[in-house]
């Protein structure tokens, strides 16, 4: 991987060659360094780490359970009756509900993205690697799916199979794989023709070794970047479904469901909208900053 460092900027390359003993930095070392210099991305990673920890252990630490109804605390404002962020129309603690909602939204985001990742990478890499008629056919299929009004089908899926938690994962994952497959396919196609692949072949490397050592690491960058940007898109889709009443069902909740009830009761209890909306927007922004930061770090050409 030292070669990657030597290629651009001939003067520095020559200098490095003179001191051959200097340890080369790998592509990923470089990317990590660049990412850590990106303040927005680092702050976002810290924030997400905090949110993730809160979503995992938080619900066990709150004094109230997320579905515990307290008749005396109906619409308790923040910081009253022991409710840090207030309570909803049934007197349920908002903090506990936000933590559960965050957990649900984050897990839907990660799992649905994983689903889209598996389908998209497999589909795109196959098409790109096979090339020719198979590629044409497979990508035409993606083109056709691309033009469908997908949100309607997700809604129909929800209607058909009830509001099953697992199904929300799958349905959204099935919608989001298309772009991933296009990216992977394009990347595979162009990588296949690169000189370094030719060089590896000339050097006698076997096909699996070329795929493993040269294609996959180069594919990984764009895939990681796009996956990071898919997570907030998925969270948004789930929240949208919950908002129009087709997502996660009571008493379980997601950030979208919380925002939906918050919007309805905004005149009486504005905190029911503010806090969930804040957590949601902060989460989405953090993912976007990390995604952008990763893109700049992995593919500095675009900067």
């Amino acid at each position: 991987m030292t070669g990657a460092i030597l290629a651009p900027g001939s003067r520095r390359g020559a200098e490095t060659m003179e001191r051959a003993a200097v340890k080369g930095r790998s592509l990923w070392d470089d990317a990590r360094r660049r990412l850590l210099h990106n303040r927005a991305a680092v702050a976002s990673m810290i924030l997400l780490a905090v949110f993730l920890a809160a979503a995992i252990v938080g619900p066990y630490l709150t004094p109230f359970r997320y579905d515990a109804i307290n008749k005396s605390d109906v619409w308790a404002p923040p910081l009253t009756a022991g409710h840090l962020l207030g309570a909803d129309a049934l007197g349920r603690d908002l903090l506990a509900r936000i933590l559960i909602g965050l957990r649900v939204s984050l897990s839907i985001g990660v799992v649905a993205t994983a689903v889209s990742l598996v389908i998209g990478v497999a589909w795109g890499a196959t098409a790109g690697f096979l090339g020719g008629a198979a590629d044409e056919l497979m990508m035409r299929f993606v083109d056709v799916l691309y033009t469908l009004p997908f949100i309607f089908f997700v809604i129909l899926l929800m209607v058909t199979f009830g509001r099953n938690f697992l199904l929300i994962f799958l349905a959204i994952g099935f919608v989001e794989w298309l772009t991933m497959s296009r990216i992977v396919r394009g990347q595979t196609l162009s990588l296949k023709q690169k000189e370094f692949v030719e060089a590896a072949r000339a050097a006698g490397l076997s096909t699996p070794a070329i795929i493993g050592r040269h294609l996959v690491p180069n594919l990984l960058g764009p895939v990681v970047v796009y996956a990071t940007l898919t997570i907030p898109a998925v969270i948004l889709t789930e929240s949208f479904l919950s908002f129009i009443g087709m997502g996660v069902q009571e008493p379980l909740t997601s950030l979208g469901t919380l925002i939906s009830t918050g919007a309805d009761e905004m005149d009486l209890a504005p905190w029911l909208l503010f806090f969930p909306a804040f957590v949601m927007v902060a989460t989405l922004m953090a993912f976007n900053f990390i995604g952008d930061g990763l893109r700049d770090a992995i593919d500095p050409k675009d900067r």
Binding site: Y146, L148, L156, F240, F243, G245, I259
Partner: protein, 305 residues
Amino acid sequence: MLRFFLRRLLVAVPTLFLVITLAFFMMRAAPGNPFETSRKLPPEILAHVEAEFGMNRPLGQQYVSYLAGVARGDFGPSLKYQGKSVLDIIAEGFPTSLTIGLSALVLGGLTGVALGVAAALRQNRALDYWVMSGAILGVCIPSFVTAPLLRQGLASDLGLVPTGGLNGPISLVLPVVVLALPQIAIISRLTRAGMIEVLRSNYIRTARAKGLPERVVIGRHALRAALLPLVSYLGPACAGLITGSLVVEKIFNLPGLGKSFVLGALERDYTVVMGVIILYATLIIALNLAADMMLAALDPRVRLS
């Protein structure tokens, strides 16, 4: 050009067919039926009602006769609203949805392009950072957050515009703004990226070198090429607006088509759901087709590949 068009049309028609087929069978696979959502009917009455709408026949037969109806432009009667056909419901709701959708598209397009160009011309300076930060906010703050906040602030507290309902053009201001915000964000990002790339190209240097005023270089030479990516965004923008309209029509209580769709899906009003899906799918497919054609007309590279 004609061959290009025909080839794309050859894909568009089966796509629409696929949409209709998928939607038909998914809708029918849903548990429950349109006649029993609020109360249980005695089996004889249910059988009678179903027979009246031809729903006692085998599903395959119903599918074929539905397709035949659609081909004739007959989308059948609504199963929930007595005496109303699906076309009546579409005729009632579509004008509202179309108005807010188109207005949001125009508002989003004009504002987004203006902001994107301004940011690109002052790349890495204060204005650029402001526009791009705003764009990130616009992408990350969902419409179901902006809508209630704006409604509370501008409608309830300040009383500048109505809080909801359809009451003259003023009642559409907030819905259009809410729908347009994410589009402004996306379009300004696309425009900025396109513009920055174009401004680096050789022909722009040539244009400047031969002494053209900056206004002409930007307005006539750079903008044209920079806006090409926007053409292919037309289809996704339309899909985004339709999705957004489901939210906006709910929050602002507008009698649009999005509302009919969500209600129809929940109440198993099969024919209404199918009608709305077919209409919107046709719209999106047609727009994608139009975008492809426009791109091919504007950019010879697309035609050749």
